[in-house]
Subunit: 254 residues, 2 copies
């Protein structure tokens, strides 16, 4: 009976979990003004496990804001970062490549993401020992690099992100989950192998899953509107990868 | 309020889900006498989604019976098949290799498993349109072959099973989930590639996940007792793969 009463309490708490609050958060990285997006369940008070979201190279679009709200409905504080400044977004692949190109292979990639992590912590709504970072495409690569930099994250989920090999001498305990379309033309098998080899050398805990019939950007319902060859939404792989992320969160953010 | 009452009903139903019944089932394949193991929740009546379990090359051991009971607690009728006859099991790798060796590459592999599927259907406890097959090592290979043979299964989960390429001309709709240790010495990268190529040609819906630091037999808590180099239990990968199977069942057996 006690078990049933406890479950009842959980049920009522669940029923109250409807109110997701969102707000734009202005923050800085050096001289650069950034505009992140915070989403959280207002019926829960104070710090809780949290998730940092890093966008595709298009910038912090409505698609990522939707995902932040979905993460918030799971009970986590969600913070979607701005990598480019002033909430800059683009629908032009050339411009996106230039914007994202500033970061690859440079310390700036982790540092800019870290500014977002600090903004999340400053919200007072994140348990600093229970933070995961997820990212999509460019953001998936950034999420890995942020973890390698020693930032205090316990889990990394990369969706169709380039697998980034752990730098020599990496000593981190964050767990990695990489999710990829099996026929993603943007990611070469050698990149997968290089990730795995380096991760094994670094003793990382990693999982890598491949979804058949799936190309790049499979999590983005707007992907096809960009008319980028090799990038397309895939509802099945989107839902499977989202569910697997949820299971992963239950493990690393518990 | 209606929602809460419905949830309450679900809760009470959950509380009643404690009674897992098991029994040994004698069945035949031609002249061969087989002894399967049936497990089901006795508080549920009649046909329901069901799962066929196919053992490692050791035969239908207590490990697989435990897994059948776990599947039954998830609400599915579970039937663990006997591939060798008279419930034969062994702890000797040479004998196991001989026993399993009778099946690889021969029609007998699918036919013997199909006899188990028929026994499951004969129990009256399985919804014939909602059956998944899972298998471990030799059983994972057998599960794939059973599906390729056109047996009426909607999902296949292979745990550390050799990936078996779909034969040319395969036309099936069963969805595949393959789960493998990333450093399993029994499975070659070429076997993974050959599976993927054939599966793509056949238009299969497949997922393939790799777990770091994990070798063969990672789901078997008794694996280390066999002293087989390259085979070892891995609790983390076991639990992750089991959870992913559960998510997969929710998709294919709903």
């Amino acid at each position: 009976m006690k078990k049933i009463l406890l479950s009842l309490a959980a049920l009522f708490s669940l029923t109250m979990h409807a109110e997701i609050k969102t707000k734009t958060v202005d923050y800085k990285h050096g001289d650069v003004s950034l505009q992140g997006y915070l989403a959280y369940d207002d019926s829960v008070k104070g710090a809780r496990p949290a998730v940092l979201l890093i966008p595709e190279w298009w910038g912090l679009t409505d698609n990522l804001k939707n995902k932040a709200r979905e993460v918030a409905t799971m009970g986590y504080t969600a913070f979607a970062v701005d990598m480019y400044g002033n909430g800059k977004i683009t629908t032009d692949a050339k411009e996106a490549a230039q914007l994202a190109g500033q970061f690859y292979g440079k310390p700036l990639m982790a540092e800019r993401a870290k500014a977002g992590l600090d903004a999340l912590l400053a919200s007072g709504l994140a348990d600093s020992k229970k933070i995961a970072v997820i990212g999509f495409c460019f953001g998936g690569a950034t999420a890995q690099v942020l973890a390698y930099s020693g930032a205090p994250v316990v889990g990394v989920v990369s969706f169709h992100g380039t697998p980034i090999p752990a730098p020599a001498g990496t000593h981190i305990t964050a767990k990695f989950l990489l999710q990829q379309g099996a026929i993603d033309p943007f990611i070469k098998p050698e990149e997968v192998s290089a990730f795995e080899d380096a991760a094994n050398k670094a003793g990382l805990d990693w999982q890598f899953i491949f979804y058949s019939g799936t190309v790049h950007s499979f999590t983005n319902p707007e992907a096809d509107s960009y008319h980028l060859p090799g990038a397309s939404y895939n509802a099945s792989s989107h839902h499977r990868s989202w569910a697997l992320m949820g299971t992963f969160f239950k493990e690393v953010l518990k």
